[in-house]
Every structure is written in structure tokens, then in C-alpha cells.
């Protein structure tokens, strides 16, 4: 680049902590006339038009900013894999088996309060969505599962979820039943571990 005024404008706008008017820029550049500054700014704007940064004027003040189409580059996403907590897994299961279901209903089924964050996590994971409101007093929000839920868990539809009798038959309820039997039958109590 040849133009010394353009170079000085470029450096000044780069280092400035806030947008600058053409007058302020002329002041920084010492001898430059307003028309020279204006010309220099036009030249710079032209130069940066297709680059990763743009020179823009807002309300008579000039500043550099990153090109709008590159916003995604400036926000970097870091993915961390985490296992769903036991509480969240239970809530997800209840939504899946009972949908659409309100928070109060979830809590009634679980027998414990559900922290607000739990449903947020499930929605962030993309497995649960808000499915409207129940038309009862208070109009509570109701929740349902998403197509991503079926996909993640390899289900063709919700009807693929095993019923409670099947669960028992498949021994999936055994941990609890075993513990119950152990407590009633054996001389020393077995310790249920439900970490």
C-alpha cells in the first residue's frame, strides 16, 4: 500500500478503543485535511470490503469489525460427553412412557421433586420438548419426547418401549426385587446398591 494517510488511518482505527469520527481521525493524523481523511477512509473501506474484517461507519464514527459472515468462526464450540444423571434418566423415562406429561405428574410418579435443571438438560440434549399446555387450571406445560430421542435410543416408535410386565419378565426389575426379597428372607439384610 502506498498511501501514507491510509496506512495511518488503518493503524489508528485498529488501535482505537472506540469508534472515531473523521474529525478525530484528522486530529490524530496531524496535517491531514478532512477531505484527505474522507478519501483515505473510502479507500480503506474499499480495500477491506471482501476481507475477513470490514471498515464500517456507524453514526459518523468509524471502526473495524469482523465480517458478519464469519461470526461462527469466532464462537468455538467445545463438546464434552457426559453421562445423564440418574435423576435425569428417570425423568426421561417417565416422559417417554407417559407423554405428554407435566412436571407435577412427573413428580407424582417419581415420588420426589424434580429440579428445574433436569428438564433443561433433557431439552438441551434434544430428547424432550415442550408439547404445549394441559387445558386444566394453571395450564401446566406438558413435555414429550422428540424424534431425536427415538433415534438415539434406537426405537422405531414409543411402542417399542418394553411394558412393565415385560420388564419384570426380562429381569430388568431384578435389582429392586432382589433387594426386597433379601430383606424379608435372609437373616442379615442385603445392601441394595442403586448408586
Amino acid at each position: 500500500m502506498s498511501d501514507e494517510i491510509e496506512r495511518a488511518l488503518e493503524a489508528t482505527l485498529f488501535a482505537a478503543e472506540e469508534p472515531l469520527t473523521a474529525e478525530a481521525l484528522a486530529g490524530h493524523l496531524g496535517g491531514a485535511s478532512p477531505s484527505e481523511v474522507r478519501e483515505g477512509l473510502d479507500g480503506l473501506q474499499q480495500h477491506y470490503r471482501d476481507r475477513g474484517i470490514h471498515l464500517v461507519e456507524r453514526g459518523g464514527r468509524w471502526h473495524f469489525q469482523t465480517a458478519p459472515d464469519l461470526a461462527h468462526v469466532l464462537r468455538r464450540e467445545r463438546e464434552a460427553v457426559r453421562r445423564l444423571s440418574r435423576a435425569a434418566t428417570e425423568v426421561l423415562a417417565i416422559v417417554a412412557y407417559h407423554e405428554p406429561v407435566s412436571r407435577a405428574e412427573i413428580e407424582a410418579i417419581r415420588g420426589v421433586q424434580t429440579s428445574p435443571g433436569t428438564l433443561d438438560v433433557l431439552m438441551e440434549a434434544g430428547w424432550v420438548r415442550v408439547a404445549g399446555r394441559r387445558e386444566v387450571p394453571g395450564r401446566p406445560v406438558i413435555y414429550a419426547t422428540t424424534p431425536e430421542f427415538l433415534e438415539h435410543f434406537g426405537l422405531k416408535s414409543r411402542r417399542d418401549l418394553p411394558g412393565i410386565d415385560e420388564l419384570k419378565a426380562a429381569g430388568l426389575l431384578d435389582p429392586v426385587d432382589d433387594a426386597f426379597d433379601a430383606l424379608t428372607m435372609s437373616p442379615e439384610p442385603a445392601q441394595e446398591s442403586d448408586g
Partner: protein, 266 residues
Amino acid sequence: MSEDSLILPLGEAEADDWSGPASSPTDDAALYLELDGWEGPLDLLLDLARRQKVDLKAISILALVDQYIAYIERAEALKLELAADYLVMAAWLAYLKSALLLPRDEQEDPSPEDLALRLQLRLARLGAMREAAARLMGRDRLGRDVFLRGAPEGLRTDRKTQWQCDWFALVQAYGQVNARTAPVVHMVRERPVMTLESALDRVSAMLGVTLDWIELRQFLPPHAEPRLRKSALASSFVAALELARLGRAELAQDEIFGPLRLRRVA
């Protein structure tokens, strides 16, 4: 020289900046200022060596010694307060000079030439670092000559969590919710027991038959099933204690865990 004021604001820098005695006239006032500015004998020696305006490798040590001693003598004449290490250096240099001038007969180890060489090497190293420091400070420095972006937008790192759960965990969780919240029915099974009342009746009745000692075990129903037998033993034992308390029976046991016997008090 005090090293307390290490960093000075730029505004008063020129006044405070040590500008080097090499350029100043060597009148008495200048001498005073200069001794204030030197950081020790080696510093003063280096400055004097520089004034010989030759490569530090080619300086004349003898000339340097003379210059140094002349400086110190003039400072003393002016009654300037000199730090002790300047005087120690002066004494050492005077010794070095005389050793260098002496005829070279069985000189001590290390030889004065070696000492002079070492001094020269030290001066060269200090001089090199002093020049390097000046060149370093003269570079285009960030925040003084070159500047960073004044108002960077900043980069963001969004943490995104990818949640993991599988079919088994889901279904098992549901099963456990159901099991946990299913209504619980407590069943108390009927069991054969001997109440304390019936044991009391039974034991007192049997005691009435004889005055001999009877072992507790003999009070139990003969063909009872094990669970009833256990209950009967417990009840009969309590009944025996109760009868003893009432003064209607006495108890005897020969050893710990030995058979417990009782008989009627006549």
C-alpha cells in the same frame, strides 16, 4: 547506587535516566554525578575502558588501572564518600599494576597476566550485556512503538455437552421408579409363639408338682416345632425370672451358659 526506584514513569525519565559518563566533561561536578550513577567498581572500570576508544579486547590494563586510581584519588580529594568496594578495587588494581611491572621471576599463581586477562574477560561480558540491554530496549516495543487492537471483539468458547444415555439405563430407570413408588403392603405372618402368660402358668404348674431342681429345658413342650420351641424357651426363661422375683422359685446355674435349674420355694 540504589536500585529501589527501578521503574520510572516515562514523563520524568529523561531527567532520571542515567545518560553515561563517557559523554560528560570530567570536571569535579561531573565526577560527583558520575560516581552516583555507577553501579560499582566494575561499572566504572568498564566506562573507563570504553574511553580508551578501542575494542575491549585490546584495552591497556595498565592505563585502565591508572585511570581508575586517578578517579578514586580525585574523589577522595573532593572528600566524596566512596563505597568500600571502590576502595577495595583500587587497592587490588594497585597490586595488579605493581605485579605487572615487576620482573617476571617466579611469579605467584595465578600470574598477574592471568588476573588481568580475567578482568578483561569480565569487562567484555558486562559490556556485551550492557549493549544487548540497550539494543533490546531500543526495539519496537509493544505499547510504546507498536500497538495491539484497541477493542477486540473477543473469541468465545461455548461449551456444549453431548449427553449420553442408553436404552438399558432408560428402561431400568423406569422400572425402578415403578418399583419404588408401587404401594407397599406389609404382611406379618402368623407364627407359633408361647406368650409370657401361658409360660407363667405352665412353669408354675410344673413347679407345683415337685420340690426337686428342674432344668429350664424340661418346661418346654416336648414335641414343639423349632420356632415354637425357641419362643417357649424365651417365655419360660422370663417366667422363671418373674417367679424368682416374686419369691416363689429359686434359680441356680453352675457355670456360665450352663443349664439353668429352678425349684419351688417351699
